[in-house]
Amino acid sequence: MTDPGLTAALQALRQAARRSSVARRFDIDAEQALLQTIVDATVALFEAEASSIALFERDPDRLEFRVAAGAQGAGAIGLSVPPSRGIVGFVFSTGQPLALSDVLSDPRFDRATAERTGYVPRSIAAVPLVDQDQTVGVLQVLDKRTSPTFSLRDMELLAVFARQAAAAIRAARVQRDTHELFRTVLAQIGEGDASEADIEAVVSAATTGLDMDEETPFWQLVDRVAQLRNLSDRELRLVADILEVVAAHASRGRRSV
C-alpha cells in the first residue's frame, strides 16, 4: 500500500464512494420502495393474485424477480429464469406487451417456473420495462380476481406502471455502475495482479471509513435532507437558500464547535 499512485487512487475512490454513499441514501431505498409500491399498486388496482418485477442480469443472461406483491406473489422473489423461456422471457426479448389467459389449457406454458413459485396462474399480463433504448426488465401481473382476461385498458395502465418502474431502476443502475467503476479502476491499478479478494479488501477498506462516519452530524444532516424529498418546490427552495448561506459560511473555513 506504499505505491503513491495507489494511495492517490484510493483517495479519489474514497471521495467517489462518499458521494455514491450520499446518493444511495437518496435513491436506493427510494428505488426499492418505489418498485415495491408499483407491484403493490398493481395488485390493488387489478385486484390480482400477484404482481412482480423481473430485472435482466448478465453472465449468465437471466431475468431475476426482485419484488412481488399479492397473496400469491411471495414465491416469485429471488427466482431467476432464462430470457429464452416463457411469457416474461418473450416480453423481455421482443419488447412487446402481452397477455395470455386460460394459460392452463396450454400444456407447456412455462409450468416448471410457475410451479417453482408455488402458484400456477390462469392468466398473465406482462409488459416490458423500457429505459431509453433498452429493455431492462418485465412487470407482470397474474390472475385478476374480477375477470378471467386482461383488457386493452389493463395493458395500457400496466405500461404506465412499467414506465415508473423503469425510471426507478435507472436510478439504481447508476449507483451500481459507480460501484462497478470502483472495481474496474482498482483492477487496473493492480495491473491484473490483484485477486478478487485483494480488490474486495481495498474496496472495503475504502468503505469501512465511510461506515464509521455513519453517526457523525454530517451524515445525520444527509438523512435529514433525504427526508425532505416530499416537500413542495417552494419549501425546497427555502431550504436550499438556507443551505446556501450555511455552505458560504463553511467555505470560509472550518469553525470549531
Binding site: 418473450f90 421482443t94 402481452l98 406454458f109 414506465r163
Partner: protein, 275 residues
C-alpha cells in the same frame, strides 16, 4: 378526452373515439368482394419474423415452407437452416392467424429470437433483410427494436422493402420511446381493438398507428401444439397481414401503397360498426 399519460395507441379504435376515423366517401371506391372475394392467399409468400414457426401445429395448416434462423457467429449475423419449432409460441400464434385468414399462403419462418440477446437487434435486421431478398410479398413483424444505433439500417431496409413491393405489417409497441420499424411511415402499423372478428379492422389517419385489428382475447396457437387466448398488438398485426395476403393473392403485384389504399377503402365503417 383520453388521459394524456396513457400510451393510448389503441384509443382511436375504442367505441367512443371511432367517429373520428370516418373518411370521405371518395375513399370507398372498391368493396371487399373486389378486394379479396374468393381469395385464399394462394401464391403469396408471407414471412413471419419472430420466434420460429412450429410447422406441425394445426393452426399453421401445413403451410410452412421454409424455416431459417439468424445466429450471431463471430459478431456476424448469419442465416442458418432452422428446425420448425417455436421457442416461445408467439410466431406460431402469428402464423396461425395469417393462415386462418388466408389458408393457402406460403409461410416463411425467420427466427430472430434466440438465446443470445446481445445480437438481438442485429439478428432482427438480418432476418428482415434476408426475407426481403427472398421475394416474399408480405411480412409480419410483431416485434420491434429500440436500438438507436440500428435506426439508419432499419430505415434503409424498410425503404428497400417498400420499393420491392413488400408489405411490412408491424405491431406497434405500447411502450413509450423509440420503437421501429413500426413507427416508419411506409409500414402497416397495427394496434388492437376488442371486437372479436378477424375481418373487422379500421383505418386511422392520425399517427402513429394506421390500422386497428382484433387483438383482445384472440384464440391462438401456442408452442408444442398448445392453444391459449391472448391480448396484445402482437396479435392484431397478423390479422392485417392475413388480409393483405388475401388482397395480394387476388391482385398480385400491388405495391404497399396500393394495398394500403385498398385496405383503407374496405376498412370497417367506424360510424356503423358496433362492439
Amino acid at each position: 378526452m383520453a388521459d394524456p399519460n396513457l400510451p393510448a395507441w389503441s384509443e382511436p379504435f375504442t367505441p367512443d373515439a371511432r367517429e373520428r376515423l370516418v373518411r370521405a366517401a371518395v375513399q370507398r371506391v372498391v368493396d371487399r368482394e373486389w378486394a379479396w372475394g374468393g381469395a385464399t392467399g394462394a401464391g403469396v409468400k408471407v414471412a413471419i419474423i419472430d420466434s420460429g414457426v412450429e410447422g406441425s401445429h394445426p393452426v399453421v395448416g401445413g403451410r410452412l415452407v421454409s424455416s431459417v434462423a439468424v445466429e450471431i457467429i463471430d459478431d456476424e449475423a448469419t442465416i442458418v437452416p432452422d428446425e420448425p419449432i417455436d421457442m416461445y409460441g408467439h410466431a406460431t400464434a402469428c402464423a396461425g392467424i395469417v393462415v386462418g385468414l388466408a389458408p393457402e399462403v406460403e409461410i416463411y419462418s425467420v427466427r430472430v429470437l434466440g438465446a443470445d440477446l446481445r445480437g438481438k437487434g442485429a439478428a432482427f435486421l438480418a432476418g428482415l433483410e434476408w426475407a426481403v431478398e427472398q421475394g416474399v410479398q408480405a411480412m409480419n413483424l410483431s416485434l420491434s427494436s429500440k436500438s438507436e444505433r440500428l435506426f439508419p439500417y432499419f430505415h434503409d431496409i424498410v425503404d428497400d422493402a417498400y420499393f420491392k413491393h413488400v408489405s411490412l405489417v408491424c405491431a406497434v409497441n405500447n411502450v413509450a420511446g423509440l420503437s421501429f420499424p413500426s413507427t416508419f411511415a411506409s409500414v402497416f402499423s397495427v394496434a388492437a381493438h376488442a371486437i372479436p372478428d378477424p375481418e373487422t379492422f379500421f383505418y386511422n389517419p392520425s399517427p402513429p398507428v394506421e390500422w386497428g385489428a382484433w387483438g383482445v382475447d384472440v384464440p391462438i396457437g401456442w408452442k408444442d401444439g398448445g392453444t391459449t387466448v391472448a391480448t396484445g398488438n402482437s396479435f392484431a398485426a397478423p390479422h392485417i397481414c392475413g388480409l393483405v395476403a388475401r388482397i395480394l393473392s387476388k391482385h398480385p403485384g400491388l405495391t404497399p401503397f396500393e394495398v394500403k389504399t385498398v385496405l383503407a377503402a374496405i376498412a370497417s365503417d367506424p360510424a356503423t360498426t358496433t362492439g
